[in-house]
């Protein structure tokens, strides 16, 4: 089955500069094309999930976005400036995946130290409160759990009151509770209107916390739309039945049924992707000679696998129908 439609990139609205403007980004490591032509326009205030499997090029893109890596080709602009200037002015900050903390410092010292690098910051107490680490200020970083360390990185990122906050797989390695606490803190912050871009390979996170999902695979954007749009892509069910001798006209009849997204014939079986599986099943059983009808739900997972091109599992599932 094919599932290749790509949602249109929302056209930038308004006249102000984009919060994030990536154009034609390319980056290779040896023969591996980590990022193979990424364009991304994010308006101020958007919360964007950068979703893709491991190795899709998310971290490399973020490194270029933050000026930690130099693109082979393409440009990066944050509010109309290059990344180095955006960082120097505290307009962008980031929560990276791991590392980046001095183990011998306390949580409070880490925040105070980072604050000293800026000319002006939000108060240390405020960012610690907002990140949910106000009660562990005297704890040594080495003794903090993964979740606490990540909330500490979040507090550091809040210090310059950035316009753009970038998070690279922020909940990797956290337990369920740590993950929930982290997202609660981030969600509260997002409500204040900051532009947020977070990379994740967890579909639920992208679905639950982003206004917009950008699906990346093999260094390219393969789908880009609101969470609802992407969910819609995946929300249908698959109706499959044995129906020998289905001709083009019969297939067109199926396509014309309400809610049908796609019809595919495989041998003597027909596969119908639809929002209204009951209607399709009723039609198949009453108006055709179909037998052996099966209805399967398609999850976000399937859409994800199909869209990111890692569809082996999807095909296997279909093959066994």
């Amino acid at each position: 089955m094919t599932f290749t439609e790509t949602l249109p990139t929302p056209a930038p609205a308004g006249s102000g500069p984009l919060a994030i403007d990536l154009r034609g980004l390319h980056k290779s490591f040896g023969t591996v094309r980590a990022v193979d032509g990424i364009d991304l326009a994010v308006r101020p205030g958007e919360v964007v999930a950068f979703l893709g499997p491991n190795g899709a090029g998310k971290t490399t893109t973020i490194d270029m976005l933050l000026g930690l890596a130099r693109p082979d080709a393409g440009t990066v602009q944050l509010h109309g400036m290059d990344p180095a200037r955006a960082i120097a002015e505290g307009r962008v900050s980031a929560v990276m995946q791991s590392g980046g903390l001095l183990k011998d410092l306390t949580v409070l010292e880490t925040v105070q130290l980072t604050a000293s690098f800026f000319r002006a910051t939000r108060s240390v107490a405020e960012v610690m409160e907002r990140a949910g680490i106000a009660d562990i200020g005297s704890r040594q970083v080495a003794k903090c759990s993964g979740g606490q360390q990540q909330r500490l990185r979040f507090a550091l990122a809040l210090l310059p009151d950035p316009d753009v906050l970038v998070l690279d797989e922020p909940t990797t390695g956290m337990d369920v509770e740590g993950r929930r606490d982290f997202w609660n803190a981030l969600r509260a912050d997002a409500a204040r209107g900051r532009t947020i871009l977070f990379a994740t390979h967890y579909l639920e996170e992208a679905d639950a916390y982003a206004d917009r999902i950008v699906l990346v695979s093999h260094g390219r954007v393969v789908a880009d739309g609101s969470a609802a749009q992407v969910k819609n892509l995946a929300s249908g069910r698959l109706v499959s039945a044995r129906l020998a001798g289905l001709d083009e006209r019969g297939a067109d009849t199926l396509r014309a049924l309400p809610g049908v997204q796609d019809v595919e014939v495989r041998g003597d079986r027909v596969l119908v992707r639809t929002q209204d599986s009951d209607g399709v099943a009723r039609h198949l059983l009453t108006a055709t000679s179909a037998s052996d009808v099966e209805i399967t739900a398609r999850g976000l997972e399937d859409a994800f696998l199909a869209l990111t091109g890692d569809a082996t599992r999807t095909d296997d599932t279909l093959g066994s129908l």
Partner: protein, 268 residues
């Protein structure tokens, strides 16, 4: 540190453009203060730089005959004291510089690149902290020495100690160079023995005599400094070779550190 006092936030940035301008200046006092506090908490560093050198001095430098034998303007005990002060300062400054290695291994230097902190400020702070530790180490050895029989012309001893401290700056550069070069999480485990070897080979622990070792010593990084530091006590002049030795190694270490530092902060 000033703070932005606006409490509620809308989609517009809160901070004014003026407060967004990156800090200037090479030294940032809170950064320096926290770095010094980290140093005090590091038990291993404390033992190696503040306890070992005076202990060595007490073991090697306080024999009765040393106290009564003069090297010119001070006794042998004082001569060994300033040698150990130099050794302590070397350990301290090398360790201070090499601490960048640990911070690179922990990803801290990468994290710093996401802040406006200028790399030059980072390195300057590291060197200042290294020199402060070197000063403390030098002073501890001197204090222990003076109450344990080191004696001589006060001005000359003070000059020797000051030279030991100032000269150890060469080793701050050495530490930085090695810290950027070596990927080890604890680079001092390698550099500690290396420094001890240099101290021996350069004649810091035992006199060199006139044989093959004396010739080898002339190219060892500690050789020139040892001669310069001891010169005020002996009253001997400083040989051209000692000065060439110090300047040559200083050039090697500083340019090596600068080279690796540039590589480390370059975008890839």
């Amino acid at each position: 540190m000033s703070t932005v006092s606006t409490s509620a936030r809308t989609s517009a940035p809160v901070a004014s453009d003026a407060s967004r301008a990156p800090r200037t200046g090479l030294v940032n006092l809170p950064f320096l203060a926290i770095e010094l506090r980290r140093l005090l908490r590091n038990r291993r560093t404390m033992i190696f730089t503040l306890i070992m050198p005076p202990a060595f001095f007490l073991i090697f430098g306080t024999a009765q005959e040393y106290k009564t034998t003069s090297v010119g303007h001070a006794n042998v005990t004082a001569w060994i004291m300033v040698s150990m002060a130099l050794y302590g300062a070397m350990l301290a400054t090398t360790g201070g510089g090499a601490s960048v290695s640990v911070e690179r291994a922990q990803g801290w230097t990468r994290q710093l690149r996401l802040t406006p902190l200028r790399p030059a400020t980072y390195v300057t702070t590291k060197v200042v902290v290294a020199m402060v530790l070197g000063l403390v180490s030098t002073l501890v050895v001197t204090a222990v020495g003076l109450v344990s029989g080191a004696d001589g012309e006060a001005g000359r001893i003070a000059l020797s100690v000051a030279l030991a401290w100032a000269g150890s700056a060469v080793f701050a550069a050495f530490g930085l160079f090695m810290g950027y070069l070596l990927p080890a999480e604890n680079v001092m485990q390698i550099l500690g023995p290396v420094l001890a070897l240099m101290a021996f080979a350069g004649g810091l622990f035992v006199p060199l005599g006139d044989g093959l070792f004396a010739d080898i010593a002339k190219v060892v990084p500690t050789y020139g400094l040892a001669e310069i530091v001891r010169a005020p006590l002996t009253g001997d002049g400083v040989s051209v070779w000692a000065i060439v030795n110090v300047l040559g190694w200083a050039a090697v270490f500083v340019s090596g550190a600068a080279w690796r530092f540039k590589r480390d902060t370059a975008r890839v």
